[in-house]
Symmetry: C2
Subunit: 141 residues, 2 copies
């Protein structure tokens, strides 16, 4: 341990990137019924209690056309519904459907179980600090 500053930053870069590159395959193995892409969009819609396509694009750094198509897919699958915003007719407020909520719950259960297992031998303090670091890192965009 006790690495230099630069070395730590390089490690953080390398490990975060490696994780990112494995995320798709990991998700596919964990929950084949909902791809990582669908999962993340649905999860954000749910967590926000309804959000716009533009919000999704901003949150995940995606083009709005990409989000438009992904949302269309989710709608076709019956997982998401669009509600008109009475205050602004340009906006569609996205909400999970009943089926969407169920799919999300099941997927999150798989993911939660996998993470729980993988982090089983971590102390509560380490988990808490790791979570805080991640929030701090992601928050500094």
């Amino acid at each position: 341990m006790a690495a230099g500053r630069d070395e730590s930053v390089d490690t953080i870069q390398r490990e975060l990137t490696a994780f990112a590159r494995r995320a798709r395959a990991t998700a596919a193995r964990l929950h084949p019924e909902l791809s990582l892409v669908s999962y993340t969009l649905l999860a954000h819609i749910d967590a926000q209690q309804g959000c716009r396509a533009t919000d999704l694009a901003a949150h995940y750094l995606l083009d709005k056309s990409t989000v438009s198509r992904q949302v269309a897919t989710l709608e076709k699958l019956g997982l998401v519904e669009r509600r008109p915003d009475p205050a602004d007719h340009r906006v569609q407020v996205l909400h999970p459907t009943e089926a969407g909520t169920r799919a999300l719950s099941s997927t999150q259960a798989s993911r939660r179980a996998a993470y729980q297992e993988r982090l089983a031998d971590w102390s509560t303090e380490d988990l808490d600090r790791f979570a805080a670091y991640l929030i701090r890192y992601n928050g500094s965009a």
Copy 2:
């Protein structure tokens, strides 16, 4: 802070996943000349001082056909060369070319600068601990 165990695990899952979903776009902005995919493969080849396609597939959880095509692209770009393994004629040992090393250096410089800036106000201790957590997490696959 002082969240419960389950809450911390959920946070870790959520934040890591959000990072993963943003990684592609972030990389494209940071270094348009080398996509995240090319970068990661080249970086691993370089870090290992020569490795096989199979090793790349295992490290990033990719199908060997995917790696085969990516390596072909890197070779066509003149960034990677294949050397026969004298001990096993099935194996091609991959190495960065001179141009590959240069491209990697330049890309890593961009990335390093971005991460340095983003982590500028972190204490050395926090960086060290965050790096250690990431290694521990990724190592527990």
